[in-house]
Amino acid sequence: VKYQSEPLRDALAAEYALGTLQGSARRRFERSLKDDPRLRRLVTEWQGRLAPLDALAEPVQPPARVWNAILDRIQLASGRRVSPARRAFWASLTFWRGAAIVSAVAAVILAVSLTTIMPTKQPQQMMVVVMSDEKSTPGMTVSWPVQPKGEPKIRIRVMGHETMTPDQAWELWMVPGGEQKPVSLGLINTAAEQELVVPRKLMPAMNDAWGLAMSVEPAGGSPTGLPTGRIMYKGQCVKL
């Protein structure tokens, strides 16, 4: 529908903003709003004129379940929860809080760059981990194809500017989640771009992992087979 005359357009915009344009007339009007920016402008102006009337509505605190429902609906990675009974750092929700948020944001950005780097005909499903420090600043990213062709490799990009002293080693860990212990993926270095070969039998667990962590270990790697030093970066896995 085209609303031709300017007074009619303004009158409809006014009643739309007021709320008295209802039923099929309202639906018709909303359809024409979609491709008529000048009509949208008239509505915006009316919404602005009437907005002070919102002061008449008393604020009411909504129940907490509303926010929980909203969060459930907007969260990218959901459904995987860590048992709170476990005290180990890799099973603590607090440890991952923040990392999850950064991951979701940065993974989208990374996904865009990945698709430009890897021009495949069939879009490949990727696992992406954006790993950040305790201030939630991203320091490295790790990604790998869910179904690797050939030797399974993970691709690592180091973006942070942390330095490694000669008596240190940086060890990358796969964190399965829940009660399970981290599994070492090997030592990495400070190079901006690097690759690490992963045993093929580890791939199912990798694709189902909660996240990754990188710890600072003595030269040669952790003496115990589990992280012993400071966790520099960590991040949650996101499937894209």
Partner: protein
Amino acid sequence: VADNDAITELMARCALRDQRAFAELYRQTSAKLYGVAIRILRRQDWAEEVLQESFVNIWNHIAEYSTSRSAPMTWMTAIVRNRALDWLRRPNLERGDEDYDLLVEALPDDAPGPETLLGNSRDARALADCLKQLSGNQRQTIMLAYAHGLSHGELASRLKEPLGTVKTWIRRGLDRLRGCMDGKVN
């Protein structure tokens, strides 16, 4: 009530998919927006649904805010109002009608004037001044319609006036309102 600059900044961060900014945006604005929804829907369960839908909508469309040329609260309130009005448009829906009669009573022709109710910002004073220029019937129908999402038909039966009369009050009232407010801005 949170100030507009802070909310605009939170919205910009939300556009970059910052969920913590979104949580803060919710913390600062949800009570106000829930109040708007409750006033229109007059049922808590419906208002909760509408608030939830609205915030998911806000999150999904927040990048479009920058092109809207609205104040941030106005933009978010418009989303809540539209959701609430859509909700009321569903067939076979019965709203309780106990409490808006009180508002009708509270706003007779010679009411003290909306300026005492709307606050002291420049926009609020302009609207209040202009509402005073309207006839009592025009002012009353416009304020009732906006506050409670009442249709022409509902207004007519509440006010016990013919439908055509109510429509004319609203149309002429809005027309005068625009003339008056444009005069104040320019």
